[in-house]
Amino acid sequence: MRVQTSPRSIDHTAAADELPRRAGVGLKPEHFTGILARAPDLGFFEVHAENYLVAGGPFHHYLGRIRERHALSVHGVGLSIGAEGPLDRAHLDALAALLARYRPQQFSEHLAWSTHAGTFLNDLLPLPYTGATLRRVCTHIDEVQDRLGRRMLLENPATYLEFSESTYGEPEFITEVVRRTGCGLLLDVNNVFVSCTNHGHDPYACLAALPLDAVGEIHLAGHACEHDAAGDPLLIDSHDRAVADAVWTLYAQALELTGAQPTLIEWDGNVPPWTTLLAEARRAEAVLRAVAPTAWHEEHVA
């Protein structure tokens, strides 16, 4: 029998063991041995949960050894929280086992859907923002938090389309999800920039309208610049290059509103040499230091 935890009973205060408010990077297999050899001074590593839902082998070997020395965030990309259908219970059970094994400081997932009728589409697909989708997303997040026995963070999406049936703006929708479920927000600053550009909104206004007191982590990533049929910019959340200057600027503005937050550099395609990744993380740490020098000092020295 599993322990039932209602969202209200989840401890929303800072846990003793939380991600340091420093920069982290996505953990890639090509960097496993280098990280173990160098033991870099970084805030944390983040992995995609689904890459580690395998029985054994090198992925578990290296993640286990890296976890002994570093804080960890587990980021799900396959739970399909926005799906019309029910959550995949077996997948949720597998996630629970993964979290029990590695005891990460943070677990997060996306405001998106990726599975339909048993088919996994391997992309984070967009949702209309309506009363019906709000109820469904909240039901699924309640189920996730109950099963995992912990608070999750929900990531704001990068989207390329909107829906005529939407009755909420994205910040209002997310605010309501956070209010109803008690989940936190994984503020993806690149996604704010990408979505706002793609839908003709002001990124700073969107940022300010999000439930920033619920932020538990920030993501930064690179995006590709294309154009739509009208010739307006259409940004693609590609995670395959350095973070854009405009996103660094928005990140600094975000930190003014949220205070220092654990900040991940996501770089999933065209994975660069370790030193390039580390340089991006150092740049984020410089911004973190500038916004919260005292908190930085305490974290870093402690």
Binding site: G56, G57, G78, T115, F120, L125, Y160, L161, A229
Partner: protein, 251 residues
């Protein structure tokens, strides 16, 4: 919005884009929907490229991506764990007419799929070679022995030189390709972190297959002898011991 229509239109470019999509500037939504279509197809193609790198080298990236696309639109993943995505691709390649000029392509794909399975298989400590010495010292007891293989053990047999072909494509530069028209069987296993891909004879292949079915050693040795008149049990066991293929033996 109906997710069923959205999902089907992602995988079938001939379908119209779903109703109810809008762009802030009134621009064409099909071009924006194409970003999702491209993400789905490109990311699944990349997943197949990760699983089948030698197949890709054998036919080139352009051909591989076109072949992968043909398959994946009808066989999207059934699980978000992409390490398990790609089963069945080898069977598709076997019947893919444009690849018929590379008759060994499908069997190389089967080997690469076995490699992925071995790579992610459950961990287990292999039996120490010394633990086998008493058993080998009493040949009269060998036939009744039950042998558990390491969970990472996989085997396959081919009419083509799949192990040699696979091995030649692990190098960055390929000077000369081995003669493909030579039957080879493969033993794959991962006693620690590295997957070993070993060419074995037909008798050893039959022996390992019988052990995997749970046959006692005597019966498995007979299967080896049936498959290969020159089968030598001690030689076969020596190969399996050297590569740490055993997990446990029981009298």
């Amino acid at each position: 919005m109906n997710q069923s229509a959205f999902a089907h239109a992602l995988l079938d470019a001939a379908r119209p884009v779903p109703d109810g999509l809008v762009a802030w500037n009134g621009s064409r939504v099909d071009l924006r929907f194409a970003v999702y279509r491209n993400n789905v197809v490109a990311s699944l193609t990349d997943a197949l490229t990760d699983a089948y790198p030698v197949v890709q080298r054998l036919v080139g990236a352009t051909f591989f991506r076109a072949m992968a696309h043909e398959w994946l639109v009808d066989h999207p993943p059934r699980s978000p764990v992409l390490a398990q995505y790609g089963e069945g691709f080898a069977a598709f390649i076997a019947g893919f007419a444009p690849a018929a000029s590379v008759p060994y392509l499908s069997d190389v794909a089967r080997l690469e799929w076995a490699y992925v399975q071995s790579f992610h298989a459950a961990d287990a400590t292999p039996l120490a070679p010394a633990a086998l010495a008493p058993a080998l010292a009493a040949p009269e007891l060998l036939p009744a022995l039950r042998v558990a293989l390491h969970p990472s053990v996989r085997t396959l047999a081919s009419d083509y030189a799949i192990v040699s072909l696979w091995g030649a494509h692990q190098a960055e530069r390929i000077d000369a390709l081995p003669d493909p028209n030579r039957a080879e069987a493969a033993l794959l296993l991962r006693p620690a972190l590295l997957v070993h891909v070993v060419a074995i004879d037909a008798g050893t292949h039959a022996l390992v297959c019988a052990l995997q079915r749970g046959a006692p050693l005597g019966e498995a040795a007979q299967a080896g002898a049936d498959a290969d008149t020159g089968f030598d049990l001690m030689q076969a066991l020596a190969v399996l011991i050297r590569y740490q293929a055993f997990r446990e033996i029981r009298p």
